[in-house]
């Protein structure tokens, strides 16, 4: 570990843990104390058409990109092996970039809608604007990194993944991060900040994604007595 007081140490050695702690404590506290506020706060009801062109590309884009990050974090070796053949590397890089661009376009459309449609502006508060700004920085830097520092899928696996794992094992190894260009650093730092900001924003809807619907019985009956959910 380098100097404990350096900025890098603060951003990459301390911030991640602070963000994660705030995320966990904040989300749990909010869920226990004010569960009612867990909502996606959809505004489709107020405006339908632009909603489609913003929200659909954004969600598909971000889901694919996030999954990509997760895979590269979980199985970096396999990603490297896949990238050993140039053609496969190109396919991966191009599709990752495409979904990244899709995310940015979707986000831009969604923000534009929030600014221009009076009804939707009415249901947008400061916390939302802060969130959109952070998402903007996050996605734009992501796309820029992909364009300016090619073959990210490979170097992520070689540098970022080991760094993240070092965080997991509570022995932060900052050497790789310290050497990163500032654009990449910004991307990583904003990511941590976003994690920490989640419990204070509408992002919590991700935590309550209703997966059980994929297997639960269609009808829900609640009894005062006896089993909670039967049909």
């Amino acid at each position: 570990m380098t100097s404990v007081l350096s900025l890098d140490a603060l951003l990459f050695g301390v911030l991640p843990y602070v963000a994660l702690a705030v995320f966990l404590l904040g989300s749990i506290a909010r869920y226990r104390g004010w569960r009612y506020s867990y909502s996606s706060l959809s505004s489709q009801f107020l405006e339908n058409r632009q909603h489609f062109w913003g929200l659909v590309p954004f969600h598909y884009g971000i889901l694919v990109v996030l999954t990509g990050h997760l895979v590269a974090f979980l199985i970096p070796r396999s990603v490297l092996a896949w990238n050993a053949q140039p053609l496969r590397l190109y396919v991966l890089e191009v599709s990752a970039l495409a979904f990244g661009v899709l995310t940015v376009i979707g986000l831009a459309a969604a923000v534009w809608r929030r600014i221009t449609v009076g009804r939707v502006r009415r249901v947008t508060n400061t916390r939302d604007w802060v969130l959109f700004a952070m998402l903007g920085v996050q996605t734009v830097t992501g796309v820029l990194v992909a364009m300016l520092y090619p073959w990210g899928s490979s170097w992520f696996a070689a540098t970022a993944a080991p760094y993240l794992w070092s965080l997991v094992f509570l022995r932060p190894d900052l050497t790789a991060m310290a050497a990163m260009p500032w654009l990449v650093k910004t991307h990583i730092v904003t990511a941590f900040v976003l994690v920490g900001y989640t419990p204070f924003s509408r992002l919590v809807h991700v935590l309550v994604a209703p997966l059980p619907y994929l297997w639960r019985k269609p009808q829900v009956v609640r009894w005062y007595r006896g089993p909670g959910v039967v049909s």
């Binding site: 004010w34 867990y38 107020l46 009804r119 209703p210 009808q219 005062y224 007595r225």
Partner: protein, 496 residues
């Protein structure tokens, strides 16, 4: 046999005067909060008309309700996997414009406007944005056939009517309409519940009331699209779905729901029905023309010892069984068969039933006189001014047999009473009418009494809800001892 109880309703359309008192009673209690201004858990439509939200019966547009696919029931709006896709953008969600943009007026200006040469006016102000707004429609914009060419003509129930019948319906001096009050039907097979990804919507086991758990709703909006009656609404301010709760806090304290209580025409009846939950799915999957009968067959005889035993075994309280025996809904729906479910072809098994309207009088205007007294006093059902096909589309899944039966019986009741009280029709003809309508004099008398002379207690047979026992099962009774007094109640607030 899996016997469950269901609080059910009958609306007698012949008695509705279209006063909207019911809607106002409901609005004042439940939906005068921010985000709910546009909601009308109870609304009264004029038929023919497109209703509220506009054209809600158009399931090609809204994809509400169920369909039968390879012999099994499936939601029209989504499959399990499609529910994920719909989450980002729901293709069948009605928007505020399909209802109306709620507004108020800038009344303050009437007092505060500076002196000038013009009268000050109160401009319409949007209740969503707070900005001035141009009023384009409202919740009962086509009330009393207002703007018929734009609205009434597009009523889905006109399907299958001949050109001549349509023209008749709208011809000056012959035109006809009736009112169609609507609340949530608290269905046996609710599409909203089945569609909710979060499992926030549920049916109460003890009384069948369908509710939205506000703390579990995450604004995925699937329920709003799935309900074919468009009776789940989206609160744009809190980001939660809301719907008619059948005034359960009132029911639990033995009071009729607000819209029932306030109904000026006394058209509303409420009572318990016992039904067989095991056969529900099978009944809901039948072909269109068998659906009314299939639903009826689910409703069990509360006097049958076997049913009583099965109900008791299932935990249905004795007092509820006793209440079911006095239920006016049971009489109208099962015994007399004069009340019918709305649009049963949506297959949600609605538990609000309608007595189809005979009024306005079946008379037709001919040769300059209103021709109503003939030896066929109330005319034949076939010659009714509201074409049977129209009522069949509304209350018989496109088939008019059940409607004809219900109307014929009502007509026979009128003949019977005419013979009794006025005496200008002879008894023999009245008896023939009764026979043809599959009705006895006693039954006709009973229908007459429950239709015209019913008291408050006869209209609303509210089952004891035993909420106190229910609470005891959920909570330690002594838990709140010495703890009540001053405190805080959090108002629902949007997001964090």
């Amino acid at each position: 046999m899996n016997v469950r109880s269901q609080v059910s309703m009958v609306f007698h359309l012949d008695k509705c005067i279209g006063c909207h008192t019911c809607s106002i009673a409901c609005k004042n209690i439940w939906t005068d909060r921010k985000g709910t201004e546009y909601m009308w858990w109870n609304n009264v439509e004029t038929k023919p008309g497109t209703g509220f939200p506009t054209a809600w019966e158009d399931q090609e547009k809204y994809n509400g309700g169920w369909k039968v696919e390879d012999g099994t029931l499936a939601l029209r709006s989504q499959s399990r996997t499609k529910s994920v896709v719909n989450m980002f953008h729901h293709p069948n969600l009605p928007t505020l414009d399909d209802y109306y943009h709620p507004w108020t007026y800038d009344y303050k200006n009437l007092f505060d406007a500076p002196e000038g040469s013009d009268q000050p006016i109160a401009r319409p102000i949007s209740m969503v944005t707070g900005e001035p707004v141009a009023i384009e429609s409202g919740p009962n914009w086509d009330d009393d056939l207002g703007g018929s060419p734009v609205y009434a003509e597009h009523d889905r129930n006109l399907e299958g009517l001949s050109e001549e019948q349509r023209q008749q319906l709208f011809a000056v001096e012959r035109l006809v309409f009736f009112y169609f009050p609507r609340i949530c039907n608290h269905c046996l097979n609710p599409a909203c519940v089945a569609a909710c990804p979060s499992g926030a919507l549920y049916k109460r086991g003890e009384d069948g009331i369908v509710l939205v758990d506000q703390t579990r709703c995450r604004a995925w909006r699937a329920c709003i699209a799935a309900c074919p009656y468009k009776k789940v609404y989206f609160n744009w301010s809190t980001g939660k779905s809301e719907k008619c709760i059948l005034c359960f806090p009132r029911l639990e304290t033995g009071q009729a729901p607000a819209c029932f209580h306030s109904c000026v025409g006394r058209i509303r009846y409420l009572g318990v029905l016992l039904y067989d939950a095991d056969r529900l799915e099978e009944a809901a999957s039948r072909p269109d023309d068998e659906l009314v009968e299939a639903q009826r067959s689910l409703i069990l005889d509360p006097f049958d010892p076997q049913v009583i035993a099965a109900a008791a075994a299932n935990g249905v309280h004795d007092s509820v069984i006793e209440s079911a025996q006095r239920s006016p809904v049971y009489q109208f729906v099962k015994v007399w068969k004069v009340a019918l479910p709305p649009h049963i072809e949506y297959r949600t098994m609605p538990m609000l039933f309608y007595v189809p309207p005979m009024a306005p009088v079946m008379a037709n205007r001919g040769q300059g006189v209103v021709d109503s007294v003939s030896d066929d006093l109330f005319h034949d059902i076939e010659a009714a001014r509201v074409p049977l096909q129209f009522l069949g589309n509304l209350f018989g899944a496109g088939h008019d047999a059940k409607v004809r039966y219900a109307l014929r019986k009502q007509k026979a009741v009128r003949w019977h009473r005419r013979a009794e009280t006025v005496g200008d029709v002879d008894r023999a003809t009245a008896d023939r009418m009764l026979r043809e309508a599959d009705c006895t004099a006693e039954e006709a008398e009973a229908i007459y009494r429950l239709t015209s002379l019913c008291t408050f207690e006869e209209r609303f047979v509210i089952p004891p809800m035993h909420r106190e026992e229910a609470l005891q099962m959920l909570e330690e009774p002594m838990e709140h001892k010495q703890a009540a007094g001053f405190g805080f109640i959090k108002a629902p607030r949007r997001g964090v």
